[in-house]
Amino acid sequence: MERKLSEILEALLLTASRPISIDDIVRVFEDPKPSKDEIRKALNQIDQDCLTRGIELKKIASGYRLQVKQSLSQYIAKLWEEKPQKFSKATLETLSLIAYKQPITRGEIEAIRGVAVGTQLIRGLMERGWVKIVGQRDVPGRPSLYSTTKEFLDYFGLQHLRELPELPSLPDLTSIEHELPIDEPDESISSSKSLN
């Protein structure tokens, strides 16, 4: 059982995208739930096992997390340099939706984009430090709410979100009816100009 519990805990720690607390862990189990002491013991076990592994157990304010040992960071850096990941269209669209519509859940992003958003995609944005979880929406499933970070603003040389380029205005539904030549100014624009 001891062994089994630590296996479950390791699985939980390695799939949560945030630190997890002992309360989080308790909630995962049906009755009979393990006691907090048993959980702590199992966590200790993991901590011990990690001595010969590439990862270590860290306790921080909001719970526990498994992270790669700092001493191995050079290899990780190499792997990241090796493939300077190009941002896919999916990533860019997701990032822009988070930027302009924050705080937003993954489900909401999917609803607008019309296609699913992979877990790894969001993880990638979080690992890059551009996106973070700022809370949970109070609906069934308590989905995480994502926002952009200060690093995101820094990267684009912005001080505030409102400095983001203004959104191209959505096409007026009524004007979609008739096709307009591309290289000629839109009538509605020229008429509004005359007002200035």
Binding site: F87, Y100, P103, R123, L145
Partner: protein, 279 residues
């Protein structure tokens, strides 16, 4: 009048437990009660058809026509179409896919019947019996439909397979990780909105960004403070606009049930706090 009914969705669960359909589905063919064959898959929420010569799921009707146990010419296709329409009304958005399947089936039947009714032009005498053509197409489709069901059962990422990830250590890289120009971001968003526009045909309104930013700031502050005095959220130096933006952000958060506004006594200080996590 609605004489279609969706089969009880919980049959799906039963089906999982007992792969064979047993006596779950019954149909009446030419006044004779008939149990469905084992090799026919009838989805949960199947469209049930009620005709003079047949009563049961459309899947079964098609099966019978395929096997020539029922003559397409005896089938009132108009009635099927009518029942299909009321079926769609019954189905919620989740089942629209299934409804689409039945539209295909109903269309096949209509096409088939019309071809059987029309006198065949002389020069097409060697043309295949339209039923054979229908059967071939249905069979080919059936194969891939089943293949799709099998693929759906393969364990997959985020459902049965969970990739293990550990937090990254601190590190610096020589090479820039990526290079994303700011315009790309806006272009990407414009693109996604344009598509959303096309597919949903409704406007998605984007609130003022500054309100969004303020919402994020308040949420962030609540991660550490969890209980914030209302007035401390307002910065006088931001002026009137700042006050309005902050107020709008609070209202948005309230609307989204992300915060609560509490006051311990009448005329006492107002506080905002996060919604308690329900355990």
């Amino acid at each position: 009048m609605v004489d279609t009914k969706a089969l009880n969705p919980q049959k799906k669960e039963e089906k999982r437990a007992h792969p064979r359909q047993e006596e779950l589905f019954l149909a009446t063919v030419k006044g004779k009660e008939t149990s469905l064959p084992d090799d026919l898959y009838v989805p949960p929420n199947a469209l049930e058809i009620l005709l003079d010569s047949f009563a049961g799921p459309l899947d079964f009707l098609l099966y019978l026509i395929k096997k020539q146990n029922l003559d397409i010419l005896d089938i009132n296709v108009a009635k099927i179409t009518e029942q299909y329409t009321s079926y769609i009304e019954l189905m919620d958005a989740m089942q629209v896919e299934l409804a689409g399947d039945y539209l295909v089936m109903a269309a096949y039947l209509a096409e088939l019947k019309s071809r059987m009714l029309l006198p065949r032009p002389e020069e097409q005498t060697e043309e295949e019996d339209p039923r054979a053509e229908l059967i071939k197409r249905l069979q080919e489709y059936q194969r891939y439909k089943e293949a799709a069901e099998r693929i759906d059962k393969i364990p997959r990422i985020d459902r049965e397979i969970f990739a293990a990830n550990a937090k990254l250590p601190e590190f610096t890289t020589q090479a820039p990780l990526i290079d994303v120009p700011l315009e790309d971001l806006t272009i990407a968003l414009a693109e996604v909105l344009r598509r959303a526009e096309q597919s949903h045909a409704h406007l998605i309104n984007f609130e003022e960004l500054s309100t969004r930013e303020r919402m994020t700031q308040i949420l962030e502050r609540m991660r550490t403070e969890s209980f914030i005095e209302f007035t401390s959220l307002f910065k006088p130096k931001e002026g009137k606009i700042g006050v309005v933006v902050t107020f709008l952000a609070i209202l948005e958060l309230l609307k989204d049930s992300l915060i609560e506004i509490v006051q311990s006594e009448e005329f006492g200080p107002i506080h905002i706090k996060g919604i308690e996590e329900v355990h």
